[in-house]
């Protein structure tokens, strides 16, 4: 049994304040067990004998501790073809709409953020190959971004276990992966080359802006970790990263209407998505 840090109320509050300021993520008392687990992991890894000494190390960013700490906090559970009704919506409606409306020729930019270990952006690439007849006639750019540099390295490597592939048919697994051992599969190089991975913190406009504007953004199951203020900042940043008329897909439990009035809600056959009004070219 690991020995838990047993943070005092005051220490826990200070840590959560700090985490909020750095990342926008909110952890309440109900998440205390989860937070303490991560703190103990990092204290053990850094050989810190007490929480105050660890916290000093964190705040001083010794040996890049801030990033390591944030990495330990990010929830990285996902799998291929998760919520594929949104992918269906992408290939049936959103992309064709963008090609008609964007006035940018045959260029399509798609952003998966946060992308975790790459399942989502690679799913988008696979889905388009399987389901979008225009896949060879458009200049498709898929960018996967995450705050966690450790998961980005894994995403670039493109190695996956059985759990990540659980929603894929044997046909798709055989077509797009090569076995690398009894329980590991590697995604094909053509797919790895079709996704560009970058680091981003979506509550930092200085980090989101350089990514440019996209036709479609997938931002699923991350805003639920933010408080209202951070959610709004993230939504405004993402809005600025959308081309006029561009779409954003959230997780099925999330609602943009409760976060920001900037977006129009659009109901398609397969999904409800949010749209930057086509007429709003500024911001």
């Amino acid at each position: 049994m690991p020995v838990f840090a047993a943070l005092t109320e005051e220490e826990y509050r200070r840590l959560c304040d700090y985490l909020y300021r750095r990342t926008g993520m909110v952890f309440t008392e109900t998440k205390r067990y989860y937070v303490e687990r991560r703190v103990v992991e990092r204290m053990t890894a850094t050989g810190s004998g007490s929480f105050p000494s660890y916290f000093a190390r964190l705040r001083g960013n010794m040996e890049g501790e801030i990033e390591r700490f944030v990495n330990a906090f990010t929830v990285n559970e996902t799998y291929f073809y998760r919520e594929d009704h949104q992918l269906q919506c992408l290939s049936r409606d959103l992309l064709d709409d963008r090609l008609r409306a964007s006035g940018r020729g045959r260029s399509i930019r798609i952003w998966s953020v946060p992308c975790s270990t790459g399942e989502e952006p690679y799913s988008i690439a696979m889905w388009l190959l399987e389901n979008w007849p225009l896949v060879d006639s458009c200049d498709i750019e898929i960018v996967g971004s995450d705050i966690d540099t450790a998961v980005l390295e894994l995403a670039r490597a493109g190695l996956y276990g059985r759990r990540a592939l659980m929603r894929l048919s044997p046909y798709l697994v055989e077509k797009y992966f090569t076995p690398q051992g009894p329980e590991t599969w590697k995604i094909l190089d053509d797919l790895r080359e079709s996704v560009r991975f970058t680091r981003v913190n979506i509550v930092e406009p200085g980090e989101t802006a350089p990514h440019g504007r996209f036709d479609v953004i997938f931002c699923r199951n991350v805003l639920i970790y933010f408080d209202d203020a951070s959610r709004r900042v993230a939504a405004e940043n993402l809005y600025a990263n959308l081309l006029p008329g561009g779409y954003i897909c959230l997780g099925h439990t999330e609602s943009m209407s409760r976060i920001s009035p900037l977006f129009d809600v659009r109901r398609f056959a397969d999904a409800i998505v949010y749209q930057r009004p086509p007429g709003d070219a500024h911001g």
Binding site: R106, L128, L134, D190
Partner: protein, 136 residues
């Protein structure tokens, strides 16, 4: 069983290469890929193929320059059949393909059936180049 015909797909977009490769492998071809004309030329000089499928707009060496370079090689390399694939569909684009020495021109998007049929047909073409151009 007859040896598989070899096709080199030349396109700078990884998704497009994967899409065509999958279609062609299903149709019974052996497929290799190149990112641009320069890489394609290197691969071709190392090992001849039965068909080149070539995109037009690529960095470093575009498709027309590549096809022209192929036609300037010694026979039989110079006679390798070439299928141009492009989103451009203007008369000047067809003319440029013809001038470079392409055998056929398909406008993207290209369906699975169409690519498979044309690859099969073109692999039967010989003596391409000077007389081999087929109108799109």
């Amino acid at each position: 069983m007859a040896e598989k015909k070899r096709v080199l797909v030349v396109d700078d977009a990884a998704l497009v290469r994967r899409y065509y490769r999958d279609i062609l492998e299903h149709a019974g071809f052996e497929v290799d890929e190149a990112l641009n004309g320069l890489e394609a030329l290197e691969k071709l000089l190392a090992a001849p193929v039965d068909l080149l499928i070539v995109d037009v707009n690529m960095p470093r060496m575009d498709g027309f320059t590549f096809v022209d370079a192929v036609r300037r090689q010694a026979l039989p390399l110079a006679a390798t059949p070439v299928l141009i694939t492009s989103t451009e569909a203007g008369p000047q684009d067809f003319a440029a393909a013809r001038a470079a020495g392409a055998n056929f021109y398909l406008v993207k998007p290209i369906s699975r059936e169409k690519l498979g049929e044309h690859a099969t047909m073109l692999c039967g073409v010989s003596g391409a180049g000077e007389y081999g151009f087929i109108r799109p």
